[in-house]
């Protein structure tokens, strides 16, 4: 099962349309959490919002996560050691308020923590592959960062 999640603030028609075109080529269920936009997919349903515990369950069951480049989703996928494909929203075509998703996607690509697709061709290629998770992370930030903060906060008090 491929779990698609695009956040709860704004629809993401471009990605949903692309997935709808690719879906019949895949022999796999698509579970999509997405706000309804103008486009209604033919090959899978859209679910506006999933409660946190249901979200965790679906996440755990998924073979692969396809998501917008939201920090929360990325961190969840990496904590759960799931292969993740991120598809950044583009602000200039109204998909978000600013281009931070583009920046996040570049950053993730830089670190090689997840797969990144920016168009139908790239996404199709990735979805036809058997992707492995690229990175697993823990619950917290680097111990060295936390220690540095603690030392600085305690210093000279």
């Amino acid at each position: 099962m491929i779990f698609v999640t695009i956040g709860t603030q704004i629809p993401f028609d471009r990605l949903i349309e692309i997935l709808d075109r690719i879906a019949p080529e895949l022999d796999e269920e698509i579970y999509a959490q997405a706000l309804r936009g103008k486009y209604k997919p033919k090959h899978f349903k859209l679910i506006d919002f999933i409660e946190p515990d249901e979200f965790e369950k679906v996440f755990a069951q998924a073979r692969l996560i396809v998501a917008h480049a939201g920090m929360g989703t990325i961190l969840s996928a990496l904590r759960n050691s799931k292969p993740l494909v991120i598809f950044p929203r583009i602000a200039s075509i109204g998909e978000h308020r600013n281009e931070h998703q583009r920046a996040t996607a570049l950053m993730i690509k830089e670190k090689n923590y997840a797969y990144v697709a920016t168009n139908e061709k790239e996404l199709r290629e990735l979805l036809h592959m058997d992707l492995r998770p690229l990175k697993k992370i823990g619950e917290f930030a680097s111990e060295s960062l936390v220690k540095s903060l603690k030392d600085f906060i305690d210093f000279n008090v």
Binding site: L78, H100, T104, V146, S148, L149, D154
Partner: protein, 150 residues
């Protein structure tokens, strides 16, 4: 008695990054949280939570009421230090904190790969310490000690 640290961030990616930094600090400090949506309080149950006025460059005039609100929050809680991952509400908070002589720390977002954010560069003018989450952006003044991924 534990020292008190105020952790501030706008909702979304900044807040999520802040959680990964502030949670491990809860072991050492009494943490107080500030963000821009009431629902964030549920994520830090048991801790004092304050709502900050949200604003950005597009409605920059809001920084004035935001500033006074932050001033009041800091005066009430009297934190020993204030940490923030941004964005603009975080900047206003550490500015208010600086005026009130608190220790202030700016942690630039992980998404800023090529250079420190504009808010980060402004914060660098007055905060006690600035962190970047990228080694190549570290300088004598901008510290790198790791990132939110761990």
């Amino acid at each position: 008695m534990k020292r008190k640290v105020m952790a501030v961030a706008s909702i979304g990616g900044h807040w999520i990054q802040l959680q990964r930094i502030a949670r491990p600090l809860e072991e050492y400090y009494e943490m107080v949280y500030v963000s821009t949506r009431p629902k964030c309080a549920a994520m830090v149950e048991g801790k004092n939570y304050y709502l900050a006025t949200d604003f950005s460059r597009s409605n920059a005039w809001k920084l004035i009421p935001a500033f006074f609100r932050q001033l009041n929050i800091i005066r009430k809680e009297k934190p020993d230090a204030i940490i923030t991952t941004g964005a603009a509400p975080g900047l206003i908070c550490v500015f208010a904190g600086w005026l009130l002589r608190r220790k202030t720390i700016w942690i630039d977002s992980i998404a800023n790969v090529n250079h420190l954010s504009l808010s980060g560069r402004i914060a660098a003018l007055f905060v006690s310490r600035v962190y970047t989450q990228w080694q190549h952006l570290a300088t004598a003044k901008i510290h790198y000690s790791g990132d939110i991924f761990g």
